[in-house]
């Protein structure tokens, strides 16, 4: 197998001492920067581009992939320990991860997330190696119609995230879509719902909304509901730091499914890793024998979401390496970096620069190993964050959140915005709306609207393409089938009185 030989060659390049050092430094830097909310993988890679210029192209690119993987892992750290996701793809990790941390199980949550990331990453690199070329054709099959269908599919699948109250779920969804339509409309170039504020011309950065609703919202909620003496309370660690045999047994299947779902979602240009983590989590909740534990500290939830968003990394490299098309924000940055080295990425990248390409793929693999080795023993130090008394920790989160918001565009206006979203987050917690559904709707709402309109312009207003496209038809049949199933199940359980309150 030619790809295998090339990978071996890549591995030997990537394991040169200087390149290993580059991977190590990159992974460390990435993890540290990734811990800061707002500095997600794309920003981190962009920030570190100048650093990588002082080394050879191979070492530079290897460092960048390591930074990327490190930042992904750093993001999961803050999600689990502080409930502050660094970007949309780690929102689902925060939900159950933080609940686990509150129960004193931060150690196993972090370990499972590191292991899941490693397995997901490895799996996607292997698939990338074997079937990159045929898969690239699959990515091309997704036009606006198919995109619209898959977004709808994801949205319907995530109905499972809604708790017992349908109304509150729908409200959270509507709120997210409401925020998504602020800014310049892509199809007409007209600004909408900006209240004449120039800063909103580009719309609201998803990361600003995430930091606000999660990070600041959590702090405000704590302040609003705290009781005497609670300020000195800390989240203590109970039990072991490492997952038990039982934990491994429960998370094996979610990690397996997460790997596949993540990889497939990563293939699609756009927000593949976010889509992947949401779909993987929703699927797990459906497969689970105890769906009620999801959202209240299910290790399976953390495992599936973290595995999927890392597996998406390899998926996103498929269109980049085979077609020269960046599949995600971060691969776009990688593409930019390649160009700065004078390497023209494109359909011929793999044939013209095989050594470099396979060195990057190999380094992705090595970064995953380095991270696992680096982070498993470090969990004992990371969880020390939880030893900080809340009266110190909460202001710290606030400061990090504000820095993160500012660093996106170096704009003071984003600080105001993030505070407004913080208030919204507080409001959502008080009345029981779902911040996760809100973010999902914000991410998908924008793309759904655009895909639908793109599809309609091309079809001159007809809707028939949603049924004549086999991909779209399949997705829609599954989605509506699930919806019907849910509705029937809900009515049944309602009549038998299984659910206490359905609003």
């Amino acid at each position: 197998m030619e790809a295998f030989e090339l990978l071996m060659q890549g591995l030997s390049t990537a394991t040169l001492p200087s390149n290993l050092l580059a991977a190590l430094i990159g992974a460390l830097l990435g993890t540290i920067v990734g811990i800061l909310p707002g500095l997600g993988p794309s920003t981190t890679v962009a920030l570190l581009i100048p650093v990588t210029f002082s080394v050879s192209p191979e070492s530079g690119l290897i460092m960048m992939t390591a930074v990327y993987c490190g930042a992904m892992y750093g993001g999961s750290l803050t999600s689990i320990l502080l409930k502050v996701p660094g970007e949309a793809s780690s929102v689902m990790t925060a939900i159950d991860g933080y609940e686990l941390a509150k129960k004193g199980k931060a150690g196993p949550a972090l370990a499972i997330s590191a292991i899941g990331s490693f397995i997901g990453g490895t799996f996607s690199v292997i698939l990338l190696m074997i079937i990159a070329i045929p898969l690239s054709k699959f990515a091309l099959k997704f036009g606006p119609t198919e995109y619209m269908a898959i977004m709808l599919f994801a949205l319907i699948l995530s109905v499972t995230l809604i708790g017992n109250s349908i109304i509150k779920g729908v409200l959270s969804l509507a709120l997210g879509i409401g925020v998504a339509v602020i800014g310049t409309d892509l199809q007409s170039g007209v600004t909408r719902n900006t209240l004449g504020i120039a800063h909103l011309t580009d719309g609201i950065d998803v990361i600003v909304a995430i930091i606000g609703v999660f990070g600041i919202g959590e702090v405000l909620h704590f302040l609003a509901t705290r009781k005497q003496g609670q300020s000195d309370k800390r989240l203590s660690i109970t039990g072991k730091l490492m997952p038990s045999k039982q934990d491994f047994k429960h998370t094996a299947a979610p990690i397996g499914r997460g790997s596949i779902i993540g990889f497939l979602s990563g293939l699609l240009p756009g927000s593949g890793s976010t889509l992947g983590s949401f779909i993987a989590y929703s699927v797990e909740k459906r497969f689970s024998k105890k769906p009620e534990t999801f959202g209240k500290g299910a290790l399976e939830g953390v495992a599936s979401a973290e595995t999927a968003n890392n597996s998406a990394t390899g998926g996103a490299l498929v269109p980049l390496l085979t077609l020269g098309i960046p599949g995600s924000g971060t691969t776009a940055v990688l593409l930019g970096a390649l160009m700065m080295y004078g390497i023209q990425p494109g359909p011929q990248l793999m044939t013209e620069q095989p050594v470099l390409v396979w060195a990057v793929i190999a380094s992705l693999y090595i970064s995953n190993i380095v991270l696992l080795i680096l982070n498993l023993p470090m969990i004992r130090f990371f969880v020390k964050i939880l030893d900080i008394p809340t009266r110190v920790l909460m202001p710290l989160i606030l400061v990090f959140a504000l820095i993160g918001a500012f660093s996106i565009n170096n704009s003071i206006n984003d600080i105001w915005l993030v505070l407004i979203f913080g208030l919204l987050g507080l409001f959502m917690r008080v009345v029981g709306l779902s911040p996760a559904i809100f973010i999902l709707a914000l991410v998908l709402g924008d793309q759904m609207e655009q895909s639908l309109r793109q599809s309609l312009i091309i079809s001159k207003g007809s809707l028939i393409q949603f049924v004549t496209s086999p991909i779209s038809l399949t997705l829609l049949i599954i989605a509506f089938g699930l919806l019907a199933y849910d509705v029937i199940k809900r009515f049944k359980s309602q009549s038998t009185g299984e659910y206490k309150s359905i609003e």
Partner: protein, 328 residues
């Protein structure tokens, strides 16, 4: 008492000398400190790259020793960077890299800041826009598409990155010149160049209008074909056989440029300084190599020419955007 008085005098003297210093720094020995260049986009993007490349080139060509510090202010579609530069008033140590958004944003009404609120310093380079079809497309010539549009303006669908943009102008202007009603042509926006190319290669859209550098690799790979380019003259080398609009008898050329601007009341001496330095820079081999490396084309215009052409461009754009209902 005397002591105190002399102290006061001393302080006053010091203050006076400081004031004297600061009032002379702006013009004498310009530039004698680090220059801040505001890129109205994120690191790695086009406006950031041009700032870094000019800095690199000036250093390599030994033309000036005050380094640039690059400040990325990408918010509000460039409007945030504009507001920042306007506040700098006459400070020649703050420059801005921008594209034609410098007037487009005012036309579509997202800001009140127009070309009056900056001082044009130089147009540094340009890219050109092309019409691209998939390899197996029935079209072999841009005129066939225009003829089809003449019969039915909605016969062919076009893909672009954003709206309003030069990508879009590269569809509307030739069509209008050819006698097609530009308001009826279906133009679909696909956020990024990557998405756009996927849509074309996947056969979801018939023609796209995009930058030459985005398309060229796919042409070389044999997956796509270029039918027309927006350059005023035919290009050199391998690209020489791409027809320009002008070669088809359509009087349209579009520069997709990036330039350097100063704050609104930049002192004339400082503008003159850059005219000299940048004028010299663009003649060096260092600059030519950098242009080639990034796939850019020379389109240098000094401050006076740049200002003049900005006015002309703004008018063409304003009229077109008004006719399709995008201008206020």
């Amino acid at each position: 008492m005397m002591m105190k008085f002399s102290k006061v005098l001393l302080i006053l003297g010091l203050v006076a000398s400081l004031v004297a210093c600061s009032s002379t720094t702006s013009t004498d020995n310009y530039p004698n400190k680090t220059i801040e260049v505001v890129a109205a986009g994120s690191p790695g993007g086009g406006l950031d790259t041009i700032a870094r490349v000019v800095d690199e080139a000036l250093k390599k060509a030994d033309l000036q020793d005050q380094p640039f510090t690059i400040k990325n202010l990408g918010g509000g579609g460039g409007n945030e960077a504009r507001a920042y530069i306007e506040k700098q008033d006459d400070n020649p140590y703050s420059l801005l890299t921008e594209s034609n958004r410098v007037f487009v944003n005012e036309i579509v009404g997202t800001t009140d800041l127009g070309i009056e609120e900056v001082t044009p310093i130089a147009r540094m380079m340009t890219e050109y826009l092309v019409w691209v079809v998939k390899e197996d497309s029935a079209y072999t010539d841009a005129k066939q598409i225009l003829d089809d549009l003449k019969e039915d303006p909605s016969a062919v669908q076009f893909g672009v990155g954003t709206i309003p943009s030069n990508d879009q102008m590269n569809i509307l202007r030739p069509a209008m010149e050819y006698g097609v009603d530009p308001t009826k042509i279906p133009v679909v926006a696909f956020k990024s160049g990557g998405d756009l190319m996927t849509q074309l290669l996947g056969g979801h859209i018939q023609v796209i209008s995009t930058g030459l550098s985005e398309a060229i690799q796919h042409v070389e790979a044999g997956n796509a074909r270029i039918l027309a380019i927006s350059s005023p003259e035919q290009l050199n080398g391998e690209l020489a056989d791409i027809p320009t609009w002008k070669s088809m008898g359509i009087d349209v050329s579009i520069l997709h440029w990036r330039g350097i601007f100063g704050p609104p009341n930049m002192p004339e001496e400082a503008v003159k300084y850059w005219d000299e330095k940048l004028g010299e820079l663009v003649k060096t081999d260092t600059w030519k190599e950098l242009l080639e490396k990034h796939g850019w084309f020379d389109a240098y215009a000094d401050s006076a020419t740049f200002k003049e052409e900005l006015e002309e461009e703004k008018e063409i754009m304003a009229n077109l955007l008004e006719s399709i209902g995008l201008a206020e």
